[in-house]
């Protein structure tokens, strides 16, 4: 399960619309917890986003993206200084469904949440979040929770 604020979700969708028809991508910083259910489902609680430049060479930018390891290393260190961690990544699929591709699967680790937003004709449509199975054979969808902001 992944939990993020409505504001962060809106920012991810806006990021996908802004970079359309190219992909956007970014890092989810937060804490890895266990949900309070019987199975102890992994729960990624997102505290903030780190948007990343899509640094992939121009010709492939519409369907490939890349966050270089230096950026991840730096983000990881900054997060740890706050007692947080990198809990996953988000990216957009311009004009494609919000399910991971085989390419996504070959380039993922279990334990992270991968949130994908489908952007069609410039408008963000649906978003889904995925976790790679431990044997790397498939992505399992996980629920996305956006708790209401506390009433003032």
């Amino acid at each position: 399960m992944i939990e993020l604020s409505q504001g962060d979700l809106a920012r991810i969708r806006a990021h996908g619309e802004a970079t359309y028809p190219e992909e956007c991508c970014g890092i989810l910083v937060g804490s890895s917890e266990k949900a309070a259910d019987d199975e102890g489902t992994p729960l990624a609680r997102v505290a903030r986003l780190v948007g990343a430049e899509n640094t992939r060479e121009q010709e492939n930018r519409h369907n490939r993206y890349l966050i270089p390891p230096e950026v991840i290393l730096r983000t990881e260190r900054e997060a740890r200084a706050e007692g947080l961690d990198v809990v996953g990544y988000y990216h957009s699929h311009p004009d494609h469904p919000s399910r991971p591709s085989d390419f996504d699967r070959d380039h993922a680790w279990p334990g992270y949440s991968y949130l994908i937003v489908s952007v069609r004709e410039g408008r963000a449509r649906d978003e889904r979040s995925w976790r790679l199975s431990n044997d790397r054979s498939r992505f399992d969808e996980e629920p996305i929770r956006t708790p209401e902001p506390p009433a003032i």
Binding site: P69, H96, F103, P110, N134, R136
Partner: protein, 485 residues
Amino acid sequence: MTVLIQIPTPLRGFADEQAEVAVAAATVGEAMEQLVTRYEGLRPHLFGDDGKLRTFVNLFLNDEDVRYLEREATPINGDATLAIIPSIAGGAVAEPPAAAQSTATELSPEEILRYSRHLIMPEVGSEGQLKLKQAKVLMIGTGGLGSPLGMYLAAAGVGRLGLVDFDVVDESNLHRQLLYSNADVGRPKIDAAVERLREVNPHIELTPHPVLLNSSNALEIFEDYDLIVDGTDNFPTRYLVNDACVLLGKPNVYGSIFRFEGQVSVFWGAEGPCYRCLFAEPPPPGLVPSCAEGGVLGVLPGIIGSLQANEVIKLIIGQGDPLIGRLVLFDALRMSFRELKLRKNPDCPVCSENPTQTELIDYEQFCGVPAVAEEPALNDMIDVTPSQVQSWMNDGRDFSILDVRGPQEYAICRIDGSTLIPVAELEGRLDELDPSKLWVVHCHHGPRSTRATNILRDNGFQQAYNLAGGIDAWAEQVDPSLPRY
């Protein structure tokens, strides 16, 4: 040297929840190997099946990316820290690119009625049916696989269906190629196919390409289509179709059949492996028989071609899991489906990141097929022609005929008085034959009997001769009462 390896948070579950693991190693590569030896569960997430570090996994030794040092050979001096950091890469499943270009934006009332059983399913609906209408699919071959493919794709409302074929309908096609009927024998397949498919669905566009597909015309023909379906029966065309699809970034829905077995996959260099990742090189010529040589169960192409049609439709409407990176094997006798996982070959000559082949080549030569189909040359040493043998008969010469085909073929037709010993059994049964006699050896077309005649000559049969052109030439030139197959 002791190196402290920092385990990334998501992978700690595979390393007893530890954040750091200390190992003693002289190089970065050695340290990583020790780590995955100790925690075997980490291995698949760090190393690929080829034993190499996965491309998105990066190593930082004391904060320096080892790619800029000596990679895995980077030495570890003194106490060091090694961080394992992913880089993030990914991508959408590309859909046939031209889906948005077509002008078709609505369905007519007739079309709505015709496709109503599609339209009421949410997975297809009007959106999916319009995608089908906008889609342009090219079928290579209109034979066994092309028959069900063509009929189902036409019936499903694929807006434009291109057909490539250069063959003529033969009576031996009719047991499996349901596009054709008795009256079509002798007609160009493509004419008969277009006629038949127009009857199936008048709402679609049918584009015939009555050409022999080759390296000089393939790219131009493929260009106009979103998706290619391979229903060919020979290796040169199969490699040509694959390579052209990779070069143009188009998906290739592949099917092949032989006797009782079939294969289906979706090869798409942009999204997964291509045919060359699976079979880098063609088999030596003659090793894998064609349907004409080995036979095929008539219903088999019906099954495999339908599976291909299913994959085509899924790719177009963007539903389900396409067969990318998976090869389905079907066995009609055991009635079993098996699935093999396919991986992209990082060194694939056409679809890898650094391809060694960036244009189409001569595929006949690549597959070892002679550039020009040679007339079976008469080998004066051992060959005799049907007319020579006929004159021996008329002259009353004393000779025997050895038939080296299989018993099923013998049951179809035979030359009266011949002895049947299949070529595979010949060496063990030589004692059944008289080496002092004059022998005429034949098979269906000549290759097996040439081999058999050489075996006889090597074993002291001085007067063994091969009937050039086999029983087929005999039936054609001497005895028209024999059925040909």
